[in-house]
């Protein structure tokens, strides 16, 4: 019974054969043919040309066949809006079929076909189906309202479908209730925050939902729970009522039901806490019931565990009591995937307390001896973070770290030194006795962070280390080769040493370092800091002491603690969602622009734009870049926000240090103690400044940038989007032919909060050897810097570089990389349009054309599904794209026009191309035949021609 056979095809003439079979009167044969078509569709082949033949199979009693045809329709109706109309009759008829499965199937499928003309016909059947006797049809129709809203919101409102949906919340069938609710939620989201509250939750609806909750499917329960979580009540009694009804859901086997129930109960806790006596007992009781189901989430597949752990991390921060006694269940298993282990570690650190620290430390020590380097490092860090967080346990933590240093495993030692530096910062003057052990391990330090940590320790405790000068001197030998981080630390440490022990050797060292840092470096941070020290030391050594040796603020472990307002938002609004997994507000990764609703007419042409490579290609920007930008923004926020009474105990120096480190902003105060205080964390620190940052707000008040493409600002924003990257750098643009070469017209939009500069471009090897004439982008903006919110046009001429040509077959794909100083490298994929390649001098004599037509290998032909208004228009459009028309005639005895044209493409060694186009003016379908030296050229022409003929180029 394997369907695998449908995938095996005989390549040549396959489509024609299928056509025949689809028209066959033999039903099993016909059905087999449809299956073959679907199989071809499955592997990504374009079978849209079979549209009329497949639609003809639609009227059938065979439900399986009908489903397959409907599936085909969903996939291809967009490309054939005119032909899709053929299906409407059957749809309408099916929506009145006595069989409820067929009625539901019809209304479900119609909603998926985003063709305007079909939408008109959808309304009446939908209206009927919303009132159908059969609940299965009603539950399907409810969702169809949301689909229709996505295509045409006005229609939904005009026909009163929203009211009907609200009425359905009282339906007797629980699944209908749940789907009506889900549809309303979807519509609410489509309408955006500006839309009015569609649900209008009253205590009456609330009761109905609570009643349906007991009876509907697991997924329906999730829809209901999510809407309960969004229900805004201030009445503790209401909250108690909801929670009591929701608590049994914690026992459900479905993890999504459990987590959504947890979300509702957490929400109710907040409300109850406002009531008399703070609802302490109630909250305690609920907390007790929540712990076991949360733990059970960890028995699922690793992927589900990961989502659970990220959410539990938030819950533990918001309500630490719930899982306070459960640290053991977060111990890592040997075969857990690394991403699960890392999350478990985070939670272990959060749950570590004086009560369980011995157990936790034993476990962490075990992990630190495993073989996976990342995991080991993180475990060592975890020990350090426990020490910083739990004062009573610090000594035990340090002992474990010392034991680990004894293992002499290089990365363990380095990591341990980094965290010990943090412990010194947290508990100054308490554990210096271990410095001697650290100094025994200087040789194994080769990573910048470990090195600079050790140097900081030597500088800070120079007076207690007898041979501090010798140790530093050893490091200084390699000063010029060190990274900036180590150099800065060496500079500061040497100054400290000199101020504490102004011996002869210290003096020698300080002058050597200062001269090296001022004369032999091109790092402005280092040079500036060296000058400041120099001045200070030469004018007033006492003042230098006050500044450099000042007491430093004590640090706290806040590396992965979220800002309370963001945390509150994530827990009570977004728990279980993608935002809660990322620990970031949704604005940072969801584009607020709704996908534009595309109507049938546009759809037709959009298809060709897609062929033209103009619509958004593969999504390429990495969120790391956005995260980096976000972190930078956060750091800037810290810098500007120092006076803010931030509830997070960030000592100012630490904040400035972080800011300087990320942004390269130097500051006198911060510069003095750079690189010391903060604890690195794998989770980006989120600051309110970043949380509140609105990537679009910046756009609104940006002034128009100067234009150099020769197109208007309006046209500039009309350029097809190549890379959409809200909150980052986005790229719009197209490839055109100008002045005898291919030229990229690009517009770069900077939606980050910082200026972007250092723009460079490069293309990957491609079929035509297209490569930028200059890698440096001449951005038309002052200083080549795109300000935040700015839109900068840039023109990039492309040359043909034969060394970058990929071997045949021809492929119109073009991969482009864009480098910036701030957000790293961005990639996007584009396709090269035919009109960017055809040369201005590519014509030939008619006689030569005839001769060539005869000698060249047999032509390749296809039928393009588009209409040409008239032969004259076609000729103009061809000529505009350097496709030179040599002859035009009427085909005898038909109304067909035949046009003969030629073009030449040197790029990629394509050569001269001969074309024959046959069409009936105004009617659909253009037959194209292509002859060329190389066989693979035909597809290039077939792909590129529609854009030319539609005048889109």
């Amino acid at each position: 019974m394997s369907d695998g056979k449908y995938f095996s095809t005989t390549k040549r003439g396959e489509i024609h054969e299928l056509k025949e079979e689809l028209r066959s009167l033999d039903r099993p044969k016909k059905k087999d043919a449809v299956k073959k078509v679907i199989a071809a569709m499955t592997v990504g082949k374009d079978v849209s040309m079979l549209f009329p033949d497949v639609v003809n199979c639609m009227q059938t009693d065979d439900l399986e066949l009908k489903k397959l045809v409907y599936l085909y329709l969903i996939n291809y109706a967009k490309t054939q809006p005119d032909l899709a109309i053929m299906a409407v009759n059957t749809f309408v008829k099916d929506s009145q079929d006595p069989n409820p499965l067929i009625r539901a199937l019809a209304v479900r499928t119609m909603g998926c076909i985003r063709v305007d003309k079909i939408t008109e016909y959808l309304c009446d059947p939908l209206q009927r189906c919303l009132k159908d006797d059969d609940p299965y049809v009603r539950k399907t129709a409810a969702i169809c309202v949301a689909k229709l809203y996505d295509i045409n919101p006005e229609l939904v409102e005009d026909r009163g479908f929203l009211d009907m949906l609200r009425e359905m919340l009282s339906d007797a069938n629980p699944m209908v209730v749940a789907n009506a609710l889900a549809a309303l939620q979807e519509i609410q989201e489509l309408a955006g925050s500006g839309g009015k509250d569609l649900l209008q939750m009253t205590s009456q609806t609330l009761n109905k939902l609570l009643a349906a909750l007991n009876e509907c499917t697991e997924w329906g329960q999730v829809f209901i729970l999510d809407s309960l979580a969004a229900y805004d009540t201030r009445d503790p009694r209401d909250a108690e009522k909801i929670a009591e009804r929701v608590l049994p859901r914690l026992q459900h086997v479905n993890s999504a039901v459990v987590l959504s129930a947890v979300k509702v109960i957490l929400r109710c806790m907040d409300v109850v806490a406002l009531g008399p006596g703070g609802g302490e007992e109630t909250i305690k009781g609920w907390s007790k019931k929540m712990a076991p189901p949360l733990v059970t989430l960890l028995a699922s597949e690793p992927e589900v565990q990961y989502v659970a752990l990220r959410n539990i991390n938030l819950i533990v921060q918001r309500r630490p009591a719930i899982l306070a006694n459960e640290v053991k269940v977060f111990f890592c298993k040997y075969n857990d995937p690394l991403y699960v282990k890392m999350e478990k570690l985070e939670i272990m650190i959060r749950l570590a307390s004086d009560k369980n620290i011995d157990q936790v430390l034993l476990e962490l020590k075990e992990y630190a001896q495993e073989v996976d380097v990342d995991f080991v490092r993180k475990s060592v860090r975890a020990i350090g973070r426990c020490a910083v967080a739990l004062e009573k346990a610090t000594e035990r933590c340090i002992n474990v770290l010392l034991e680990l240093i004894q293992t002499k495993v290089s990365y363990v030692v380095q990591e341990a030194i980094i965290v010990i530096k943090d412990i010194f910062r947290r508990y100054p003057n308490q554990y210096e006795s271990i410095i001697a052990t650290l100094c025994d391990n200087l040789d194994s330090l080769d990573e910048p962070e470990a090195k600079s940590s050790m140097i900081w320790i030597i500088g800070e405790y120079a007076e207690r280390i007898d041979n501090a000068d010798e140790l530093l001197e050893a490091f200084l030998e390699t000063f010029p080769e060190e990274t900036a981080m180590v150099q800065l630390q060496l500079l500061t440490a040497t100054v400290k040493l000199f101020l504490k022990k102004p011996t002869e050797s210290a003096q020698k060292m300080i002058s050597a370092v200062l001269s090296c840092a001022t004369n032999e470096t091109d790092n402005p941070d280092l040079r500036d800091r060296a000058y400041i020290y120099w001045r200070l030391l030469s004018t007033d050594p006492e003042a230098a002491k006050d500044v450099v040796l000042a007491e430093k603020p004590v640090i706290a472990d806040d590396s992965s603690t979220l800002d309370p307002s963001l945390l509150e938002q994530l827990v009570s609004r977004y728990l279980a969602t993608v935002a809660a997994v990322y620990h970031r507000p949704p604005e940072t990764f969801v584009s607020r622009q709704r996908m534009a609703v595309t109507r049938a007419e546009e759809l037709g042409s959009r298809k060709f734009e897609e062929d033209d490579g103009a619509t958004p290609g593969t999504m390429v920007s990495d969120n790391n870049a956005a995260a980096a930008a976000g972190a930078a923004a956060a750091a800037v926020g810290d810098l500007l926000d120092l006076s803010d009474a931030s509830p997070v105990p960030v000592p100012p120096a630490a904040a400035v240090g972080a800011a300087a480190a990320t942004r390269g902003l130097d500051d006198l105060l911060g510069g003095l103690d750079l690189g010391g205080p903060t604890i690195r964390s794998s989770i980006p620190h989120i600051h309110p400044a970043a949380a509140a940052a609105d990537p679009f707000a910046a756009l609104a008040n940006s002034s128009p940038a100067p234009i150099s493409l020769g197109i208007s600002p309006a046209a500039l924003s009309q350029l097809p989007v190549l890379l959409a990257n809200p909150g980052g750098v986005s790229v719009q643009g197209r490839l055109v032919r100008q002045g005898g070469q291919a030229v990229y017209q690009l517009a770069l939009r900077n939606d980050t909060l910082a200026p972007v500069d250092g723009l460079m471009i490069q293309t990957n090897r491609n079929s035509f050897g297209l490569s930028p004439a200059s890698q440096v982008l001449a951005v038309s903006a002052p200083g080549g810097v795109i300000p935040p919110g700015g839109l900068a046009p840039v023109r990039v001429p492309l040359l043909v570089d034969p060394s970058k040509v990929t071997p045949p077959p021809l492929n119109t794909g073009l991969q482009v990389a864009l480098r910036t100083n701030q957000v790293g490298v961005l990639y996007f994929n584009d396709t090269v349009p035919l009109s960017a390649l055809t040369e201005e001098t590519g014509t030939m004599e008619a006689a030569d054309f005839l001769a060539a037509w005869k000698t060249l290998p047999p032509e390749a032909s296809t039928r393009l599904p588009l209409a040409v208004p008239s032969a004259e228009v076609a000729k103009q459009r061809l000529a505009a794209a350097n496709l030179f028309v040599l002859a035009h005639r009427q085909v005898p005895a038909t109304s067909q026009d035949a046009i003969y044209a030629t073009c030449r493409i040197t790029a990629g060694g394509v050569g001269q191309v001969l074309l024959e186009l046959k069409f009936v003016a105004g009617a659909g379908g253009v037959d194209v035949s292509v002859k060329a030296e190389r066989q693979d050229v035909a597809q290039l022409v077939f792909d590129g021609l529609p854009a030319v003929l539609l005048g889109a180029a």
Binding site: F7, I143, A230, H252, V578
Partner: protein, 439 residues
């Protein structure tokens, strides 16, 4: 917020798309194709980064789950319920497994693509999960059901009137099916009849444990499942009384959660045939069926000595099925000499372990493995051996290490009352989950 995905893709491990179903219009195949370059290959390029199974590239969020030799991928552009999306993926994996009567793999996808499209149409609509329970869906979508029906209709020379009558009958049957899939008792249809009413109740427990090398239990829990087979007529209600040992229980949707909450009795109208009634977890009061005492010493650079003793703690009236002990050895193992007091042991190079198998392990018994492992001395500086834990695999019938007991199982049929009789069978099985001993 409710929406779980814009589209679902099934890809093989190379990242080729095997099957797709789009539910919304805001993503396309091209985006899914970038999964290979941007996520699968990115992992190879950037080995130091630790990525979870959810990433946002541009404004499209990719959520993926690995199963056997395929990836299941969901795409979305909104901030949807991620837990819903992942749970949905795991649910459809078990759905397909149930339909295919085998695993969901690259080859089974190809062999069943028509059925898969049909199911994908039913499990989700406009990104909203709908029906995923195999028992329910099988009333709507049969594997061979209507094919047989229709071919008989087409093949035989039936009169038009007959055909119309048949069509009306089918519509009625479909209406019945739709009522039951959406209704309150969605998991059971009316009018089921059996000659003999029978109930089988199996308690299957998985013991997870992590022991230190001196036998101290670091972490220990039992995950239990109660599997049922019900062959019962009409609409019986079952009541199951259990001694309260469980920390956390999750139930099949047929169980009345309110009744459990108030009376601690598991009350339900069972689906017909096989289903999983409940799962539970127990953390305390567990009696471990086995104890393991390992002594593993690395002697110099070329030798390793292992001495592993396994003791069974259950009564000598029961007997464990095959017990397998996996004792890990370093990668550079050349050969191993082993001595066992029972069963057989051999060195398995692919598992990097000594595999010791004891076919029958009596209760209250003790067996020992002594091994001398020769290692290949390498000139490179030796990376320390990770010392993975020893793993124990076993099955002990008629043992419940959580202490869970069935106190009673009552069957009540409202209409028939005491005339309703049913035979009841209760079985137990204790299996190893992650049974690990550090060395």
């Amino acid at each position: 917020m409710a929406s779980a995905a814009s589209a679902i893709y099934f890809l093989n491990l190379r990242g080729d798309i095997l099957l797709e179903r789009r539910y919304k219009d805001d993503v396309d195949r091209e985006i899914a194709e970038s999964f290979r370059d941007r996520i699968l290959n990115a992992r190879e390029r950037d080995a130091t980064a630790v990525y979870g199974p959810i990433r946002t590239l541009g404004s499209v969020t990719f959520m993926y789950l690995r199963h056997a030799d395929i990836y299941i991928l969901l795409l979305t552009r909104s901030n949807g319920n991620a837990m819903l999306s992942f749970q949905f993926m795991t649910s459809i994996v078990s759905l397909f497994q149930s339909y295919f009567e085998g695993d969901l793999t690259e080859s089974s996808i190809r062999a069943n693509f028509v059925l898969m499209y049909e199911l994908l149409d039913e499990v989700m609509d406009y990104g909203l999960p709908q029906l995923t329970d195999p028992a329910i869906l099988k009333t709507l979508i049969l594997q061979k059901g209507y094919k047989a029906d229709f071919s008989s209709l087409l093949g035989a020379n039936v009169s038009l009137a007959d055909a119309a009558a048949k069509k009306a009958k089918e519509a009625a049957a479909a209406a019945n099916a739709t009522l039951s899939v959406t209704g309150a008792v969605g998991w059971r249809r009316e009018g089921i009849k059996y000659k003999r009413n029978e109930i089988y109740l199996d308690i299957v427990e998985q013991v997870n444990v992590l022991m230190s090398n001196n036998g101290a239990v670091l972490r220990n829990d039992v995950v239990g499942r109660i599997q049922m087979k019900c062959y019962l007529s009409d609409m019986p209600e079952l009541r199951l009384g259990l001694n309260d040992q469980m920390q956390d229980v999750t139930f099949h949707q047929c169980v009345n959660l309110g009744a459990y909450e108030s009376q601690k009795v598991v009350t339900f109208v069972p689906p017909d045939g096989e289903f999983e009634l409940m799962r539970y977890r127990v953390n305390d009061g567990i009696t471990l069926p086995f104890k393991v005492l390992p002594v593993i010493n690395e002697v110099g650079r070329t030798k390793l000595e292992a001495n592993v003793t396994v003791k069974s703690t259950f009564s000598n009236k029961t007997m464990a099925g095959p017990v397998v002990v996996l004792v890990p050895v370093p990668d550079n193992t050349a050969s191993a000499k082993m001595l066992v007091t029972a069963g057989r042991a051999k060195y398995d190079a692919t598992k990097k372990a000594l595999v010791w198998k004891i076919t029958k392990f009596m209760g209250n018994a003790e067996h020992t493995l002594r091994a001398e492992v020769a290692l290949v001395a390498s000139t490179k500086e030796k990376k320390p051996w990770g010392r993975p834990p020893i793993q124990l695999q076993f099955q002990v019938p008629m043992l419940s290490c959580s202490g869970l007991r069935v106190q009673y199982l009552k069957v009540v049929e409202r209409k028939l009352g005491s005339a309703y009789k049913a035979e009841k069978w209760v079985r137990k099985l204790c299996k190893s989950g992650d049974f690990l001993i550090r060395i």
